[in-house]
C-alpha cells in the first residue's frame, strides 16, 4: 500500500508530460493556442438590433431575423485588409444560396458604402455598428469573423480570421451542412 502511494507522483507526472508533449507537437504543427471559441456557441444569437447602413443598401436586422433557415453572419470593415481577401469566398457562398448577414464593424457610412460599391455587395442585409456595440454582444474579438446560425437561431460555429478557399472547403461547408441537420 505504501509503495503504491509512493509511485503516485511519478504516474501523475508522466501523464502530464505526455499530454504536454502532444500539445507542444500540435503547436509546432500550426495549432494556434490563442483561438478560443465564442462563449456563445450553442446559444441563441444575441437579439440586438442593428440599423441599416444606407438607404440604397439592403439592411438593418436583429437577432430574431436569423431563424427559420441556416444563416451566416459575417463581421467586416472597409479598413480591414483580410476582409477583402475573404470577399470572393463570401460572394461564392452568397451566390450558392446561403443568406449572409453582415455586421459592419467600427466603420463609417461613406467608406463602407464605397467599399461595397467597389467590391460588390454579396450581403442579404447589412447592419451598421459604428461603435462596436453589437460586436460586443456577439463577442467579436476582431475582424473578420464569421458565425453559422442554424434554423432555430442557435450559433453552431464561429470562424475567426479570413475564410480562405481551403477553409471554405474544409471547415465552413461541412459546418453549414451540419447546421442543416
Amino acid at each position: 500500500m505504501k509503495r503504491f502511494i509512493l509511485i503516485i507522483p511519478i504516474i501523475v507526472f508522466i501523464i502530464i508530460i505526455a499530454v504536454l508533449s502532444v500539445m507542444t507537437l500540435q503547436t509546432k504543427e500550426g495549432r494556434n493556442p490563442s483561438i478560443v471559441p465564442s462563449a456563445l456557441l450553442g446559444k441563441e444569437a444575441p437579439n440586438i438590433e442593428l440599423p441599416m447602413l444606407a438607404r440604397n443598401i439592403p439592411g438593418g436586422f436583429k437577432g430574431s431575423d436569423l431563424v427559420g433557415r441556416v444563416n451566416i453572419v459575417n463581421v467586416f470593415s472597409s479598413w480591414c485588409v483580410p476582409c477583402l481577401a475573404e470577399h470572393p469566398q463570401i460572394s461564392w457562398l452568397a451566390t450558392n444560396g446561403f443568406p449572409i448577414y453582415a455586421i459592419n464593424h467600427r466603420d463609417n457610412v461613406s467608406d463602407a458604402s464605397n467599399w461595397l460599391k467597389k467590391h460588390g455587395n454579396p450581403y442579404f442585409a447589412v447592419g451598421f455598428d459604428p461603435e462596436g456595440r453589437a460586436s460586443l454582444e456577439w463577442g467579436v474579438g476582431g475582424v473578420p469573423e464569421t458565425f453559422i446560425i442554424n434554423a432555430s437561431g442557435i450559433i453552431t460555429y464561429k470562424h475567426i480570421g479570413p475564410i480562405t478557399k481551403e477553409i471554405l472547403k474544409e471547415k465552413i461547408l461541412p459546418k453549414l451542412h451540419e447546421a442543416k441537420r
Partner: protein, 658 residues
C-alpha cells in the same frame, strides 16, 4: 572575436559540468576525500566560465554588434543603454543563458559557503546540481546558441518588443529566475539525500537557507512582475490569473509549503519523505513554468519569444530530471524511517495543516492552468476553453481563508503537544481586534460588500495574533522590563523574520481586499475641456500634446483630478508609438496615496460626427494598492531577516534535548 570566446567558454563549461556531474558522486561512493573536494573547485570554475560567456553576450549588446543574430533581432542602436543590457534576457537564447548562469551560481555558492555540510552529501548535491547544468548547457549549445553570426552584417537591429523596454525587464526576470532556479538547490539536496538514503535534522538545517533564499527571490520576482504588469499593461489590474503568472505562483505555493515542512525536519526529524517530495515537486513546477513560458502552448499576455520546438527540448529535460527524481523517490523513500509522534494540537499539526492547504491550493491553480490543455487533448482539439479569474476566485480563495486564518494560531502552539486552553486569552484578544476592525470598516465604507469588511477583520486577526505571539516571545509585558531590549536583540532573527513575514501577509490581505472589492473603473471618451465625475472626484482633460521620445513618438494627455474642494492633481498618461516595431504601448499615469491609487490611461483618438477629436480614457480608483506592495515587501524583508540569522549555515548549534 569576443562572441567566439563566449561560445568557446560555454563549451568548456559544458565539459566541466559533465565532469562535475560524475566525479564528486564517485568520490562520495568511494569515500575519496580528494574526489569529493574536487567538486567544490569544479563548481566555482563552471560558474566562472558561464559568467565569462554571459558577460561577452552583454558586451555584444552594449556595443550593438549586429553581426550577432540575437543582437540584430532584439536590439537597436537608438535604444537607451539600460534596455540594451536588459535586452540580453528579453529573448529566448539570452534568458536561457541567464538561467544557466544562476544555476551555476548556486552551485558555486554552495561550494564556497557550505563548509559545514557533510562532505559526502555536499559532493552529491554538487553532482546533482551539475547534472541539471549539463542538460541546460547542452540545450543552449545545441538548440539555442546565442552567439550565432549573421552575414552580411545588417546596419541596424530590429529593436526590442516595446512592452519590454521598461526598467521592469531589467529586474523582474533575473529575480524570478533566482527564485525558480534557486529551488534547484532544494531539489539537488533532496535527490542527494535519496541517493544517500539518509535524512536527518541536519539535512533539514542545511536545505532550509537555500529554500528560504529561493523563496525570497521568487516572492520579490513575482511581486515585481505584478507591479510591472500593473503600470505597463495599462489594464488597471495587478493579477490576471494568466497562465504565465500561475506558472510562477505554483512553485511559490509549493515552495512556501517546503519552507514550513523543512522546519519539522530540522526541529523534530518528521515529515522527511514529504519534505523531499516537496523539494522535488517545487523545482519541477519551476521547470514546468519555464516550459509553459517558452513553449507558447498556452495563451498569455506575458509570453514573448515563444518556440514550440525548443519547448519540446525543455519537456525532455523536465522528463529526465523530474522523472528520474520521482522514480528515485518511489524506490528510496521506503527506506527512510519516520519515527516521530505528535499530538493533534501541536506545532507539528499546525504545520501539517499549512502544508495540506498550500498543496491543495497549488493543485487547484495547476489544474486551472492545465485544464484547457487537457480538455483540448481529450476532445482532440474540438473543445477549447479559457479559464479565468472566476474559476480561481471561487476555488482558490476559499482554500486560502482557513490557511491564512491559522497564521494567528500556529506560531503560538508548542512542539509535540500544545494546549489550546493556554491560548484562550491571547486568541480572545485577536478575535476582539478582528470584530472591532469589521465594525469600523462597515461604518467607514457602508456601501462596500460585507465580505470586504470580514476580509479586513481577517487581516486584523492575523496581525494581532502575530504581534501577541511576538510580544510573549520577547516577554514584552513581563515585569522585569529592563531585560526586554536585550531579549529583543538576542531573540532569534529567524523567529522574528517569521513574525515579520506573517505580518506581511496581513498587510497584503488589506491591499488585495481594497484593490479588488472597492475598485472603481470608468471607460469613456473625452474631448478637450470635458469633465467626468467619479465618486467625489472630477477628472478634466486639459490638453493633448504630441512629442518624441528617444525611439518613439508619443501622445501625452494632461488631466487634472480634483476631489470636491481640494487642490488639483495633474496627471500625464501617455500613448507611445514605436516606429521600428510598429507597435503602441500605453504609459498609465498613476498617483499613489496611502488610501488609493489613481490610475489613468489614454487610448486612441477618433473623430466624432461633428469633427471634434475625442480620446478613449480609462480611469481607475484602486483603493489600498500601496498596502498590497507594502505587504509583499514586508514578507520579503521577513525572509531576508530570517536568512541573515547567523546560526544558519555557518555553524551547527548543538541540538537541545527536548
Amino acid at each position: 572575436m569576443i562572441p567566439e570566446i563566449g561560445l568557446f567558454v560555454l563549451f568548456l563549461a559544458l565539459i566541466i559540468a559533465a565532469i562535475q556531474a560524475v566525479v564528486p558522486m564517485v568520490g562520495a561512493v568511494r569515500q575519496d576525500v580528494y574526489l569529493m573536494a574536487l567538486g567544490n573547485r569544479l563548481a566555482v570554475i563552471q560558474f566562472f566560465l558561464v559568467t565569462i560567456s554571459f558577460t561577452s553576450l552583454i558586451y555584444a549588446f552594449v556595443i550593438s554588434d549586429f553581426s550577432l543574430l540575437i543582437v540584430y533581432n532584439n536590439s537597436h542602436s537608438l535604444k537607451p543603454l539600460l534596455y540594451k543590457i536588459s535586452g540580453v534576457w528579453g529573448n529566448h537564447e539570452g534568458s536561457m543563458l541567464l538561467w544557466v548562469l544562476i544555476l551555476s551560481m548556486f552551485g558555486a555558492a554552495l561550494a564556497i559557503w557550505g563548509k559545514n555540510i557533510s562532505p559526502t552529501l555536499k559532493a552529491r548535491v554538487l553532482s546533482v546540481q551539475s547534472m541539471i547544468g549539463v542538460a541546460f548547457l547542452a540545450f543552449i549549445l545545441f538548440t539555442s546558441n546565442p552567439f550565432l553570426r549573421l552575414n552580411p552584417v545588417p546596419s541596424d537591429g530590429r529593436g526590442l518588443n516595446p512592452v519590454l523596454q521598461d526598467p521592469g525587464l531589467a529586474f523582474h526576470p533575473p529575480l524570478l529566475y533566482l527564485g525558480y532556479v534557486g529551488y534547484s538547490m532544494a531539489f539537488s539536496f533532496a535527490v542527494a539525500a535519496l541517493i544517500e538514503g539518509k535524512i536527518d535534522d541536519k539535512w533539514g538545517r542545511w536545505v532550509r537557507p537555500w529554500a528560504l533564499a529561493a523563496w525570497v527571490f521568487l516572492t520579490a520576482g513575482i511581486a515585481l512582475g505584478s507591479w510591472w504588469a500593473y503600470y505597463e499593461l495599462g489594464w488597471g489590474g495587478w493579477w490576471f490569473w494568466d497562465p504565465v503568472e500561475n506558472a510562477s505562483f505554483i512553485p511559490w505555493l509549493l515552495g512556501t509549503a517546503l519552507l514550513h515542512s523543512s522546519v519539522v525536519v530540522e526541529k523534530r526529524e518528521g515529515f522527511k519523505n514529504w519534505t523531499v517530495l516537496l523539494a522535488i515537486l517545487t523545482f519541477s513546477m519551476s521547470l514546468l513554468g519555464t516550459f509553459l513560458v517558452r513553449s507558447g502552448i498556452l495563451t498569455s499576455v506575458h509570453t514573448f519569444a515563444t518556440d514550440p520546438e525548443r519547448g519540446l527540448f525543455i519537456l525532455l529535460i523536465l522528463f529526465v530530471t523530474i522523472g528520474g527524481a520521482l522514480g528515485l523517490f518511489a524506490i528510496r523513500a521506503p527506506i527512510i524511517k519516520n519515527n516521530f509522534k505528535f499530538a493533534p494540537v501541536s506545532r507539528e499539526s499546525a504545520l501539517l495543516y499549512n502544508n495540506l492547504f498550500l498543496t491543495i491550493g497549488c493543485a487547484i491553480v495547476l489544474l486551472g492552468t492545465l485544464y484547457p490543455l487537457f480538455l483540448e487533448f481529450a476532445s482532440n482539439g474540438e473543445s477549447k476553453v479559457s479559464i479565468g479569474p472566476p474559476y480561481f476566485n471561487i476555488t482558490f480563495l476559499p482554500i486560502m481563508i482557513p490557511l491564512v486564518a491559522a497564521i494567528a494560531v500556529g506560531p503560538m502552539l508548542s512542539w509535540k503537544r500544545g494546549v489550546i486552553g493556554a491560548l484562550y486569552v491571547k486568541l480572545l484578544f485577536a478575535a476582539g481586534s478582528c470584530l472591532i476592525t469589521i465594525f469600523i470598516v462597515l461604518i467607514l465604507v457602508p456601501e462596500g460588500p460585507t465580505l470586504a469588511a470580514c476580509s479586513m477583520g481577517l487581516a486584523a486577526w492575523i496581525a494581532a495574533g502575530c504581534l501577541i505571539e511576538w510580544a510573549s516571545r520577547i516577554r514584552l509585558f513581563n515585569s522585569k522590563s529592563i531585560t526586554n531590549t536585550g531579549r529583543l536583540i538576542k531573540s532569534s532573527k529567524s523567529a522574528n523574520g517569521m513574525t515579520l513575514a506573517h505580518l506581511g501577509i496581513a498587510i497584503l490581505i488589506v491591499g488585495i481586499t481594497g484593490a479588488s472589492a472597492w475598485q472603481k473603473e470608468i471607460t469613456t471618451s473625452m474631448a478637450i475641456g470635458e469633465t467626468i465625475k467619479v465618486n467625489d472626484y472630477s477628472l478634466t482633460l486639459k490638453k493633448v500634446q504630441i512629442g518624441k521620445g528617444p525611439n518613439y513618438n508619443l501622445e501625452r494627455g494632461t488631466f487634472s483630478l480634483i476631489k470636491s474642494n481640494n487642490s488639483a492633481i495633474i496627471m500625464h498618461p501617455e500613448r507611445r508609438y514605436f516606429p521600428v516595431a510598429r507597435q503602441a504601448t500605453t504609459e498609465a499615469a498613476i498617483k499613489t496615496t496611502l488610501l488609493a491609487d489613481f490610475y489613468l490611461v489614454i487610448g486612441e483618438s477618433r473623430d466624432t460626427i461633428d469633427n471634434k477629436n475625442e480620446w478613449t480614457v480609462r480611469f481607475y480608483i484602486n483603493p489600498m494598492m500601496f498596502w498590497l506592495w507594502l505587504g509583499v515587501a514586508t514578507m520579503v524583508l521577513g525572509g531576508l531577516l530570517s536568512l541573515s540569522d547567523r546560526r544558519r549555515g555557518i555553524s551547527i548549534p548543538v541540538r537541545k534535548k527536548a
